[in-house]
């Protein structure tokens, strides 16, 4: 694969946070200058190519892939159409993080998701699935969120302790060799 291909992969996976030329250079093992000229060339090609829907921006020190401004109206149109599921993946992710980590602030949720989470939180609050529960003892006193009884209702849980465990428990719980075991030994000895 070409360096252009790898850079596209990296910028795509990096999401809204983007990557610096230095980070890309470290991965490709080429100089920062080479990265800069490569990315500039890619950005130029993207700008000119009307069949492409993304562009590269330099925001602070980070390169980011973003959708082209010309297509914003179509993205908005998509945003206006209700999701085929009743909760979007973004909302479900956010809800899972809150459910398993409550009380939790929006910033903390965003750190886990790696993306802004204002709208999913607004949706979940409007749906009555989460609510505010005071403020964290942190700079800016951010709002803490918890799930509601409506959440338990919708997901048919008696309580939060009924949430399934998230990680695969290793087969450490020892299965007891039952009574049969003893009888079997006897049978063998006979």
């Amino acid at each position: 694969m070409t360096n252009e291909s790898i850079i596209e992969s990296l910028l795509f996976a990096a999401g809204d946070e983007g990557l610096t030329a230095g980070q890309i250079a470290a991965v490709l093992e080429i100089s920062v200058q080479d990265v800069q000229s490569l990315v500039e060339k890619m950005a130029e090609l993207l700008r000119k190519d009307h069949s492409r829907g993304v562009m590269i921006t330099l925001y602070g020190a980070e390169y980011r892939l973003m959708t082209k401004k010309e297509n914003a109206e179509f993205i908005q149109k998509l945003a206006e159409k209700p999701s085929p599921k009743t909760l979007s993946q973004a909302a479900l992710e956010t809800l899972a993080i809150i459910a398993y980590n409550q009380p939790i602030t929006r910033i903390e949720v965003e750190e886990i998701r790696g993306v802004k989470t204002e709208r999913p939180i607004a949706t979940l609050a409007a749906r009555g699935l989460i609510e505010e529960a005071g403020r964290a003892d942190a700079p800016g006193r951010p709002i803490l969120y918890v799930t509601t009884s409506e959440f338990l209702d919708v997901f048919q849980l008696k309580g939060l302790n009924e949430l399934p465990p998230l990680s695969e428990e290793e087969a450490s719980a020892q299965q007891e060799a039952d009574l049969f075991f003893g009888r079997f030994e006897e049978a063998l000895e006979e």
Partner: protein
């Protein structure tokens, strides 16, 4: 302790039997009862000696094998023609082994697909997509939530250097006004005043505040407050009735 690990890794008596059949190079459709029973029992004995927990399923199978073996030692009292009417425990065992083997192999194929899938990465969905659906009954299950969570876990978060080295570019009031307009248009519902500030940097706070004032002045946004000290909400569309 490799031996222990190996024994421990059988997925039950059928898995162990398949292993033995493979090792002894015998025909799954013509299992020699005596030989397989002896081998099986010696494995189960080893498990006991190593003080592994021997699940009851292994012992049930042991009993079945012993029954099968003793049966094979008895003189065949059935007539040739009656052979198929006789309930042969070997046939039943073969059927179960063949059935189990099918899924064991399918599991291996699925594993290959699963491994390959871990090589593809996506990005998080944009914040403002699909989030506005707040009406109608909710048809969503805990499994939808867990699925979404797993999808998120599979995403790769790429490491970002410390923010200290980042220099913000200067943002003009005009640019900020445009951004705020867009943000409010996307949001459709009133947004918290605080939500309009993306950055905690002083320069940007000031520019954002000026932009909000300018938008108010131009009657493009409205600010709502329910009472003294209540939260400020901002919504667009001041100038359109």
């Amino acid at each position: 302790m490799e031996y222990k690990v190996k024994i421990d890794s059988f997925e039950g008596p059928l898995d162990l039997l398949l292993h033995l059949i493979n090792q002894l190079e015998i025909d799954i459709y013509d299992i020699p009862a005596a030989e397989i029973t002896n081998q099986y029992l010696s494995y189960v004995n080893t498990m006991q000696q190593l003080e592994l927990d021997v699940a009851s399923e292994y012992l049930v199978m042991a009993a079945t094998l012993i029954a099968m073996k003793s049966r094979s030692l008895l003189p065949d009292h059935t007539e040739e023609d009656d052979e198929f009417y006789e309930e042969d425990p070997r046939e039943e065992l073969t059927r179960r082994l063949v059935e189990y083997k099918k899924y064991k192999e399918a599991a291996e194929k699925l594993h290959v697909l699963e491994e390959e899938r871990t090589m593809f990465f996506s990005r998080p969905p944009s914040d403002h997509l699909f989030a506005s659906n707040v009406e109608g009954p909710l048809h969503v299950s805990i499994y939808d939530m867990l699925g979404a969570f797993q999808k998120m876990m599979r995403r790769k978060k790429l490491a970002i250097p410390p923010k200290a080295t980042v220099r913000r570019e200067e943002v003009s009031v005009e640019t900020r006004m445009k951004a705020l307009r867009e943000k409010l248009r996307f949001s459709k519902e009133p947004m918290l005043f605080e939500e309009l500030f993306d950055s905690n940097e002083r320069n940007e706070l000031v520019v954002s505040f000026l932009a909000i004032l300018e938008l108010m002045k131009q009657n493009e946004i409205k600010i709502l407050q329910k009472g003294n000290f209540a939260k400020l909400y901002v919504m667009s569309g001041g100038n359109e009735k």
